[in-house]
């Protein structure tokens, strides 16, 4: 794998951060409908300070995922998030592309 891709490897970053003793959450796109920007299986890793690497959308919902992830790190229980045009009232953020995604957020223990 090329150097650039290695640097962007979210799961390697997660392992490295965990090795540094940082509290982490891993967010994963588990389902998509319509034109979702990132495919199922895409990851975002987040630490307790809100630093993150990777993506679960084209930048549309990362902010919301990061704040939920910080709660998950504290609470320890995984959470399922859903984003999309249909949920604009429930979430202040949405996907401008009109797609919908489900994101599973879990703590790295």
């Amino acid at each position: 794998m090329s150097e650039t891709l290695t640097e962007l490897d979210v799961l390697k970053t997660a392992e490295r951060w965990a090795g540094e003793g940082r509290a982490l959450a891993l967010a994963t796109v588990v389902e998509t409908w319509g034109s979702a920007p990132r495919p199922t299986g895409s990851h975002l890793v987040i630490d307790a300070e809100g630093n993150f690497e990777g993506s679960v959308s084209g930048g549309c919902v990362e902010g919301a995922v990061v704040s939920e992830a910080i709660d998950v790190i504290e609470a320890g229980e995984p959470r399922m998030l859903e984003f999309g045009v249909a949920d604009e009232t429930a979430w202040r953020v949405g996907l401008s592309c009109g797609g919908r995604i489900r994101v599973y957020v879990e703590k790295v223990n």
Partner: protein, 238 residues
């Protein structure tokens, strides 16, 4: 996710072996399934399907909703021969999203000046493959024309089940190659897996065009998942 699971997953990925993570969404229970252990998994059929298609997703099972996430090694191309065609193939392969490396023991060909920024091994394939063996997610293109260099990696690629194997040379050159492979004890069904002449039949007439033809064939083999069909015995070439 458990840190030990994360480390084990990254180990499989670094070794270029397929692995899946199965998550039971109701309980959060999670397990890593290595490609070699798929048969023993309670969801073997589902896991196998996800590995084969490369499509991760949620399924309904007896354990409720499960998310099966496939981690497949990135496809790479190994070109045997640091020739003019490889000089065109290397940047194109990268643009198309493939890792590429080049092996050629002839140091005059395998020079950094000719291949800036491309992983290059100016050694015999026999020696390189000892530490960097082929795997099923590798496409092997032998393009030196020289049996002393080409034959060993060709046989190794056939034995490994690389997802694409192509060999440069006219029909006459290939006929002689087939004679050598038969003499080396390679089965006809294996020999039939070699694409020769190499590359999609687009009338390619110069190195750049031949590189396009080769890349087309590699993409077709990868995206149409011929490698999995063959490994499952769904085609005659298995």
């Amino acid at each position: 996710m458990d840190r030990a699971l994360l480390a084990a997953l990254n180990k499989e990925r670094a070794a270029r072996r397929a692995a899946v993570v199965v998550t039971e969404l109701a309980s959060g229970r999670q397990r890593l399934v290595r490609e070699a252990d798929v048969g023993a998994d309670p969801l073997a059929e589902l896991v196998e399907k996800v590995i084969r298609s490369g499509k991760s997703g949620i399924s309904q099972t007896d354990a409720g909703e499960v998310f099966v996430n496939a981690h497949l090694p990135p496809a790479r191309i190994v070109a045997i021969g640091a020739v003019h065609i490889s000089q065109a193939l290397a940047p194109m392969a990268r643009i198309a999203g493939f890792d590429i490396e080049i092996i050629d023991p002839r140091t005059a060909f395998a020079s950094k000046d000719r291949f800036p920024g491309v992983p290059l091994h100016a050694e015999w394939p026999e020696d390189v493959l000892k530490t960097r063996p082929f795997d099923p997610y590798t496409a092997v293109c032998v393009i030196t024309h020289d049996p002393k260099i080409d034959d060993f990696p060709l046989i190794s690629a056939l034995n490994t089940g690389c997802f694409y194997i192509g060999a440069l040379g006219s029909r006459k050159t290939h006929a002689r190659r087939v004679e050598r492979l038969v003499a080396a004890g390679i089965s006809q069904s294996s020999i039939d897996r070699i694409e020769a002449p190499i590359g999609a039949d687009i009338g390619a007439a110069n190195p750049g065009e031949i590189a396009v033809a080769i890349l087309s064939s590699v993409i077709a083999a990868f995206r149409k998942r011929e490698m999995f069909a063959e490994r499952r015995g769904e085609t005659a070439a298995a």
